[in-house]
C-alpha cells in the first residue's frame, strides 16, 4: 500500500504525518509513506486544502487532521 501526505510544510501537514506514522505502526501493515511537498504535484491531486491524504493514488482526505483512530478506519477502508 502506498500512502502520500500532501502538504507544503505547514504545522497541520506535520501533524498528519505523525498521525499517519502512528496509525500505520499500530496497524502493523506494510505501507510506503511518502511526503509530497511540491505544490504543482499537490495540485495534480485536485485538492484545495492542505494537508491531503492519498492512499493508492486516491485522495481520501483534505484540509483536516483526524485522530489516529479515525485514520486507522480510513486506512483500513481504502487499503
Amino acid at each position: 500500500m502506498n500512502i502520500k501526505i500532501l502538504g507544503t510544510g505547514c504545522a497541520n501537514c506535520k501533524n498528519l504525518e505523525k498521525a499517519v506514522n502512528m496509525a500505520v505502526a499500530d496497524m502493523q501493515i506494510d505501507a510506503k509513506i511518502e511526503k509530497v511537498e511540491d505544490i504543482q504535484k499537490i495540485m495534480s491531486f485536485g485538492i484545495m486544502r492542505t494537508p491531503g491524504l492519498v492512499i493508492n493514488d486516491k485522495v481520501v482526505l483534505s484540509g483536516r487532521v483526524p485522530s489516529v483512530n479515525d485514520l486507522k478506519e480510513i486506512i483500513a477502508k481504502h487499503a
Partner: protein, 346 residues
C-alpha cells in the same frame, strides 16, 4: 457491533454537548458575582484601588472571553463542516462579477481557511474559472472576518461594534475584489499558475454523520483555543494594566478624531504588523480606552489582520509584485475610507 450500539450512541453524542452547554450558561451567568466575590471578599481588596480593579478586570474578562470563544467556535466548527473549499469553488464557478464578489466574500466567512492553504486554494479557484477579482474577494474576507474577531469584539465592545466590523469588512472585500476584477490584472499572475494541471479527482469524504460534525466542533475548540488563549491572556493583562495606570487621554493626540493623519498612519503601521484577532482586539480596546477614536482603532485592527506580510510572502509565489502592491493598495484604501467614515461621519 456498530449496528447494536447505534441507539445508545445516538443518545450519548447529544447528551454530552447539551450537558456542557448548560454548564456553560451557569458559569457565564455567575461570572461577575464570582469575580466580585473573589476580589473584594475572598481577597479582601477595596473597591477603587487600582490594583484591585486591574485584577478584577482580568479575573472577569479572561474567563468571559474564553467562554464566549469556546461556545462560538464549537458552533462555527459544526457549521463549517458543511462548507468545504470544494463546494465553495463549485458555487463560485463562472459567477458574474459583483454577484460573484458578494458571494465570495460571504463564503469567505464560513469556509474553513488558513493562510497556509492560500496557494492551493488560489490555484483551485483560478483553474476552475473563478474570476480573479472574485478570488480576491474571498482571500480578503476569509482571514479578516472570522469567529474569533467577532466574538472578541462582541465580548469587549458589544454587538454594535462587532456588527460594524463585519459589515465594513464585507464591504471592503466585495468592493476591493470588484475593483481588482475591473482592472483585468491576469497578466500579473505568475504564468505557471495557468500551466498547472489541477487534477480532477472528485474526492468525496462520503456523508459525514452529525456525530462526526459535533466531534469537529470539539476539534475546532481544541485547535483554535489552544492557539489563541495565550494571546487573549496577554492582551487582557496589557489591558488590565493599562486600565488603571496609563493616563486616560494618552492616545488622544496620536489616534484621536481630531488628528487627520491618524487613520493612514494606523493603516501603514498595521500592514507589516501581523497578529491574529485574538492578540489585536484586547490591544485595540486599550487604545480606545486611552483616547483613540473608533474609526482609527478599527482601521488599525483591519490592517493588522487583513493585510499581513507573511500572507503576502506566500501569495508572491502565485502573484507578481505589481499585483501584490495593487492588492495591498486597494484594500488599504478601503480600510482608510472606513476609518474616515467612522471618525467624521458617524
Amino acid at each position: 457491533m456498530i449496528q447494536t450500539n447505534l441507539d445508545t450512541m445516538k443518545l450519548k453524542f447529544l447528551i454530552k454537548p447539551l450537558f456542557l452547554i448548560s454548564i456553560w450558561f451557569v458559569i457565564y451567568h455567575y461570572l461577575q458575582p464570582l469575580a466580585d466575590w473573589l476580589i473584594y471578599s475572598a481577597l479582601g481588596m477595596s473597591q477603587g484601588d487600582h490594583f484591585a480593579e486591574a485584577l478584577w478586570f482580568f479575573v472577569y474578562e479572561f474567563p468571559k472571553v474564553m467562554l464566549l470563544l469556546g461556545l462560538i467556535i464549537f458552533f462555527v466548527g459544526i457549521i463549517r463542516s458543511y462548507f468545504t473549499a470544494e463546494r465553495t469553488r463549485t458555487a463560485l464557478e463562472g459567477k458574474k462579477t459583483f454577484t460573484g464578489n458578494v458571494m465570495a466574500s460571504l463564503l469567505g466567512i464560513v469556509t474553513p481557511f488558513c493562510s497556509c492553504s492560500a496557494i492551493p486554494l488560489f490555484l483551485g479557484f483560478v483553474e476552475a474559472g473563478v474570476p480573479l477579482g472574485v478570488t480576491f474577494s474571498f482571500l480578503i474576507a476569509a482571514p479578516m472576518i472570522n469567529e474569533v474577531a467577532v466574538v472578541l469584539l462582541y465580548g469587549m465592545f458589544g454587538w454594535k461594534v462587532a456588527l460594524i466590523y463585519v459589515t465594513t469588512g464585507l464591504s471592503i472585500a466585495i468592493v476591493a475584489g470588484w475593483i481588482i476584477g475591473l482592472l483585468k490584472l491576469e497578466k500579473w499572475v505568475e504564468p505557471w499558475v495557468y500551466e498547472t494541471k489541477v487534477g480532477q479527482q472528485d474526492w468525496d469524504e462520503g456523508t459525514i454523520s452529525f456525530e462526526t460534525r459535533i466531534q469537529m466542533g470539539y476539534d475546532a475548540i481544541r485547535e483554535i483555543v489552544g492557539k489563541v488563549w495565550l494571546y487573549v491572556a496577554l492582551g487582557i493583562v496589557v489591558g488590565a494594566g493599562a486600565h488603571g495606570y496609563v493616563p486616560e487621554e494618552f492616545m488622544a493626540n496620536l489616534m484621536g478624531k481630531s488628528t487627520w493623519y491618524s487613520v493612514p498612519l494606523s493603516v501603514l503601521i498595521g500592514i507589516p504588523l501581523y497578529s491574529n484577532a485574538a492578540g489585536i482586539v484586547p490591544i485595540v480596546s486599550v487604545l480606545i480606552e486611552k483616547g483613540a477614536s473608533l474609526g482609527t482603532a478599527l482601521a488599525f485592527m483591519m490592517s493588522v489582520i487583513g493585510l499581513s506580510l507573511p500572507e503576502m510572502v506566500i501569495l508572491r509565489k502565485v502573484l507578481k509584485l505589481p499585483l501584490i502592491f495593487t492588492f495591498i493598495g486597494v484594500v488599504a484604501f478601503g480600510i482608510l475610507v472606513v476609518g474616515y467614515i467612522f471618525n467624521y461621519v458617524l
